[in-house]
């Protein structure tokens, strides 16, 4: 069993000095920023007892004794994370643990996609992705469980800033894909045994919602749960974008806010979205095309949230962040999340 370990040495440097990320290292240093990653890496490695493959100096070897298979340059970049992870794969890593934020998560994901599970130790400025352990201790617990074969593999979202939108001066968080992530089985019974597999639950949701979606106009949010509904209807939906379906036919793919508004103009429409696992955002992360204007036009009562029981079990509360606080407030309270065929689970939306 080999664990690939990579540190983004500058992760977290921009946080306290008011930058939205750590991409501009010079500016961050000028403002007196210090990276968060080294301390987290050291804390994690102090208690880790495993067969580790890693990088030299600041990207790994400074914190842990392990086989060095990637040479860290003086000035590191995203490219180094990607290259290091590719090397880990070549050397047969069973799990890759990284220290960083959303940017690092994306780099790791770019290199390994779903080939091996990945786990993040949170040290970044933004951490919207679902691959992070809550803290260093939890990360150690998960890694130990993984090595003992006591962890399961779950799909988790990789989220990061939409750079195109960012350059146009709007902060949009976008869903980039799904990574595999180790998770500890729950107590005496794990979710799988209670509910059957997660795919089974997804199929139940899809079968049920596909019947509903036969008639009317539906704005379908990103993610695999919503996509399964379209699959069931025989419609080809984008995995990561917002598509619009009318009377069983697709009328817009990967639509932006304006396109959505145009498509639903003068119609009674519904929105179907799924929360981000663990995080719990139903609006404002990964689906900002479904803006406050869209939501207001559709009406809160016409929003259908879907998620598997497994995902909901790992998501204590749901959140919304539409950018319009007074609209957000209208969401506060209980919502019935569709979790199977004819099955719902009550969840609380916290504002």
């Amino acid at each position: 069993m080999h664990i690939g370990f990579v540190v983004n040495p500058i992760a977290g440097i921009g946080g306290k000095v008011g930058l939205k990320g750590s991409d501009d290292v010079e500016e961050a240093l000028k403002r007196g920023g210090t990276p968060v990653a080294p301390a987290k890496a050291a804390e994690f490695c102090k208690f880790l007892d495993a067969n580790v493959i890693t990088c030299s100096s600041t990207m790994g070897a400074d914190y842990i004794d392990g086989k060095i298979i990637y040479k860290t340059p003086k000035k590191t970049s995203a490219d180094d994370t990607i290259k290091a992870c590719r090397k880990f794969l070549k050397h047969g890593a069973d799990l890759i643990v990284f220290v960083g934020g959303d940017g690092t998560a994306r780099d790791v994901y770019n290199a390994v996609s779903k080939k091996v599970p990945i786990l993040g130790i949170p040290a970044g400025v933004k951490m919207y992705s679902g691959v992070f352990a809550i803290n260093v201790n939890k990360a150690l617990e998960i890694v130990n469980a993984f090595m003992e074969g006591k962890a399961e593999r779950v799909e988790r979202e990789i989220m990061d800033i939409d750079e195109v939108a960012f350059r146009q001066d709007t902060l949009k968080i976008k869903l980039f894909g799904y990574a595999l992530c180790p998770a500890i089985k729950n107590f005496l019974q794990n979710g799988k045994r209670i509910f059957g597999g997660e795919n089974e639950a997804k199929r139940g949701i899809a079968k049920f919602m596909a019947l509903i979606c036969k008639e009317g106009t539906y704005v379908l949010g990103p993610g695999s749960t919503v996509k399964a509904i379209a699959d069931e209807m025989g419609i080809e939906k984008t995995l990561l974008g917002v598509d619009i379906v009318e009377n069983g036919k697709i009328i817009a793919r990967d639509a932006n806010e304006e396109e959505i508004l145009k498509a639903i103009e003068g119609k009674r429409a519904r929105i179907i979205v799924s929360p981000i696992g663990g995080e719990g955002f139903i609006f404002g992360r990964g689906n900002q095309q479904i803006s406050s204007r869209v939501i207001e036009k559709v009406g809160i009562k016409n929003i259908i949230v879907v998620a598997t029981p497994q995902k909901l079990m790992q998501t204590p509360f749901l959140y919304v962040d539409t950018g319009d606080r007074s609209l957000d407030k209208k969401f506060a309270g209980w919502i019935s999340v569709i979790a199977g065929s004819g099955i719902a689970i009550r969840k609380r939306i916290v504002i």
Binding site: F187, E200, F208, L211, I212, A339, G340, G342, K347
Partner: protein, 448 residues
């Protein structure tokens, strides 16, 4: 000193069951093929004659055979408890009682009928009984009863329970029963379900279909149902009849009786002997408690429907969520049934009984309070009725009313500790029934 438990002597055990069919009339069951009212001989492939007679009888009182009473005496009469600790905790002026059915060997009210059913089957020369079980309570009750009358017993156990509750399976096997996870490959219907839904958690409706198919296809084999039917409910009236005697001993009358409803047998058994009093004008409230995830009485429609998924059973007029509805795998497995006893449904329809639905977490919260104030750890099913009783007691506190509240404490939860573990760790989900979307989905189904 307040009396904590009110005990009857063995000789005070009732010697007749009360048949409510003498006092209320329900629409007849219909033959699944002809849709004509069912004739006694239609049921003969699956039930013995004596039980068919009870199913259709209008006699008010039916004698309990001596052989049945002899087995009953292992645990009956059961105690009526005053829940002093719970009353104190709730600071309620109400008196709370519970009829404790968890003292039977299988741990619930279910052997009240399984013993009677095994007896009549054995008397008519039947050699093997088949049945289904959800939580494992009914299966273990029948396994226990069959052992005492020398019958073989085959139990189709809903798959998610089979996996979640190995101890119930072991209990049944210890009493000598054969236990099969359902859907199984032993029956045609089971094979069909498995092909269509390979990793389904199973349901009571599916397991019933399998057990009936097994009984029909084999010689000297009959089927036994643990709830819903008139004769089952009849046998359970011993609960309410004993309760009546016990309240008489205290010179009290219950103002409210609560109980959980899966197929309706423990609750009906508890309240039916009190129903004539209410029909004569006495003020007494009956509250049926069910899960939000499977809210048959509160959200179902009152109509003719099949009792099982494969549509083999007669059509019964009852509150139903539809015979193809598969409820989520909540921990009160015994309450995952799409329909309810027609006799009880009739009383709900007439407003004599009111129904309430509860979420899993609030139900377990009630169960934990009970464990910490009264000591007994009750079954998740039972806890629904307990939750209704607690709500009533709190209402009494607010209104300063000294009512007498009683609930049927249908069974212990010693085999349900995994569910308590999840609750204790905040891992239970509040399942519910998305009524409006389900209505929409049904409308859009292609017409058959």
């Amino acid at each position: 000193m307040e009396e904590r438990k009110i005990l009857l002597e063995e000789e005070d055990m009732p010697d007749k069951w009360y048949n409510i069919q003498a006092d209320i009339e329900i629409p007849p069951p219909l033959h699944p093929a002809t849709l004509e009212p069912l004739k006694p001989e239609d049921m003969e492939p699956i039930f013995p004659k004596a039980l068919i007679k009870q199913e259709m009888s209008k006699d008010r009182w039916i004698r309990i055979p001596e052989e049945v009473k002899e087995i009953y005496r292992i645990w009956r009469p059961t105690p009526l408890y005053r829940a002093i600790g719970l009353e104190k905790f709730l600071k309620t002026p109400a008196k709370i009682f519970y009829k404790w059915e968890g003292v039977s060997p299988p741990g619930s009210h279910k052997p009240n009928t399984s013993v009677a059913q095994a007896y009549y089957n054995a008397k008519e020369g039947v050699e093997r009984l088949t049945t289904e079980t959800g939580a494992g309570q009914w299966g273990s009750a029948l396994a226990f009863a069959c052992r005492f009358f020398g019958l073989k017993c085959t139990v189709y156990m809903v798959k998610c329970s089979y996996e979640q509750k190995p101890y119930r399976r072991i209990l049944m096997q210890t009493w000598g029963a054969e236990v099969i996870p359902s859907p199984s490959d032993k029956t045609e219907f089971g094979r069909k379900v498995r092909q269509e839904m390979p990793s389904t958690a199973g349901s009571l409706g599916i397991a019933i279909s399998e057990a009936i198919e097994d009984a029909i296809k084999h010689e000297n084999t009959k089927y036994s149902l643990g709830s819903v039917l008139n004769h089952v409910v009849l046998h359970q009236t011993i609960i309410g009849l004993e309760m009546k005697k016990q309240f008489d001993m205290l010179d009290l009358k219950p103002d409210v009786i609560c109980g959980c409803v899966g197929g309706g047998s423990n609750f009906s058994g508890g309240i039916f002997p009190f129903v004539p009093d209410k029909m004569k004008g006495e003020e007494i409230k009956f509250i049926a408690a069910e899960p939000m995830a499977c809210p048959t009485l509160t959200k179902g429609i009152y109509a003719y429907d099949f009792g099982d998924t494969a549509q083999q059973t007669p059509l019964l007029k009852m509150h139903t969520l539809g015979h193809d509805f598969i409820p989520p795998a909540i921990h009160a497995g015994g309450l995952r049934y799409h329909g309810d006893a027609p006799l009880l449904c009739k009383l709900v329809d007439e407003g004599i009984v009111e129904a309430r639905a509860y979420y899993q977490n609030e139900v377990f919260e009630a169960a934990k309070i009970f464990a910490q104030t009264e000591g007994f750890v009750v079954a998740p099913e039972t806890a629904h009725g307990l939750k209704a009783a607690i709500d009533e007691a709190i209402r009494c506190r607010k209104k300063k009313e000294e009512k007498v509240i009683c609930f049927v404490n249908s069974g212990h939860g010693h085999f349900d500790l995994a569910a308590y573990d999840l609750y204790n760790n905040g891992m239970l989900q509040d399942y519910e029934y998305p009524e409006e979307l389900i209505r929409e989905a049904i409308q859009r189904l292609p017409c058959i």
